[in-house]
Symmetry: C2
Subunit: 256 residues, 2 copies
């Protein structure tokens, strides 16, 4: 892969860069060749029928030095006037793409609600990743998994059911249309469904009709359905299954 150099954020004339940011021409999303946290941005790009390219790190030990925070995902943006911009941090990238493609509701209040659900569903996935997936000590992993099921996931399901019910259990968190919140929650569920721990996780999630309705509603969106039917998406999903079967085998990181 030819990786754009994004060691530094552009700093020249931020007002011009703002104009460029709001008039994107095409995108490149760099993330590992799996779904996980990359899935949300990819689905938004697919939903927005954006011109975009999927990138994956090659030699990460070298390439990470050309990124803002040594983490992926990273979004490279080419603006209509030819400027190159980069965004980092998944929540920031997802909020930017959601704003660009009309997935943050109809007004400021809806936007804050959507961001709250988005944050809560990102947190559930991140808690599992840190506490279970990347826990290298078996006794701790087992204990965290039990706590996750009996406490963290339970509260997530209960509170999200309440808010989905408040919106009439129509498959959306806010109003009657697709938003970043719906996509974030659906991606969390699709993520859990591909993990080795899926049987136990999905047994809990599958009891929630409200959450299943969100999962189903996102899956039925024609543009997202087309993306999920693509060869690339299938390859990334297979990648997820293989990766999470033994994540430590794929990354030369300490087993934390």
């Amino acid at each position: 892969m030819i990786q754009p150099d994004a060691t530094h954020f552009s700093r020249e004339s931020t007002s011009e860069l703002s104009v460029a940011l709001n008039k994107p021409e095409s995108f490149k999303l760099m993330y590992w060749p799996i779904n996980a946290v990359g899935a949300i941005s990819r689905e938004i790009l697919a939903y927005g029928q954006a011109k975009w390219e999927n990138l994956a790190p090659g030699n990460w030990q070298e390439e990470k030095l050309k990124t803002p925070f040594q983490v992926v995902p990273i979004l490279y943006i080419k603006s209509q006037n030819g400027q190159d911009l980069v965004l980092s941090e998944s929540s920031v990238i997802e909020q930017y793409l959601a704003k660009t493609f009309g997935l943050l509701g109809d007004n400021d209040y809806e936007e804050y609600l959507i961001k709250a659900f988005h944050s809560s569903s990102a947190a559930i996935q991140s808690h599992f990743a840190q506490g279970v997936t990347w826990e290298g000590i078996e006794v701790a992993k087992a204990k965290h998994f039990e706590f996750f099921k009996s406490h963290t996931l339970k509260i997530w399901v209960e509170t999200h059911e309440k808010h989905l019910s408040d919106n009439g259990n129509n498959g959306h968190y806010v109003g009657n249309k697709l938003s970043l919140a719906d996509i974030r929650t659906a991606c969390a569920i699709e993520h859990f469904a591909l993990l080795p721990e899926a049987p136990e996780l999905m047994e809990i999630i599958n009891k929630s009709e409200a959450l299943l309705k969100v999962r189903e509603t996102v899956a039925k969106d024609p543009k997202i359905a087309a993306w999920r039917d693509s060869e690339l998406y299938k390859k990334l999903s297979h990648g997820s299954v293989a990766f999470f079967a033994n994540p430590f085998a794929f990354i030369k990181a300490p087993s934390n």
Copy 2:
């Protein structure tokens, strides 16, 4: 404490609620009686010279059922036209308060940059909380702490030094004025400085002149300095020291 009922988000007329949200009259922030994640919102409220009240849970087992996600912080807002609103999720609350009090830069691009630094510094604090503070198994806690120091914190320091240098090491992340990014990073450092693990953490952080300059610049802001000099802030800081000396003693949660 008389806790406002925020079981449900208001859903009636989101366009009216947007108007209300953008014209706040006063605030109540509910969080544990410590600094930790509550510190950021409190400093923004102090910086904005807002009319606000600090709340702490009383009987949390009951009160949590009157919150959106059974987590704190929660921000209760009274609008100028008398409407009650609630926001949940720390990142959402902090972004809202930062927007309200002019701490998100001068344009959209600066706002995304500031949010990226904000996200990265929230993540460093959250990684430590989940992996070390709330790790009940000693062998795992020790291993996570070593990994945190040698890897997670190291990368955070290196990458933030780079971005601070790009901005001229003037104590700010973006431009020449205080932003949410500066406050978020300063609060992370103040948080680490009060933990039992402070000697080892601060030995690493104190080597970074760029980060210390941010810490110092935030501390010198006259309104933030006045807040940190208040009896309430001192009480919350003492609360932090007592709490983190043995967090499991204070919360009836499984030792995850």
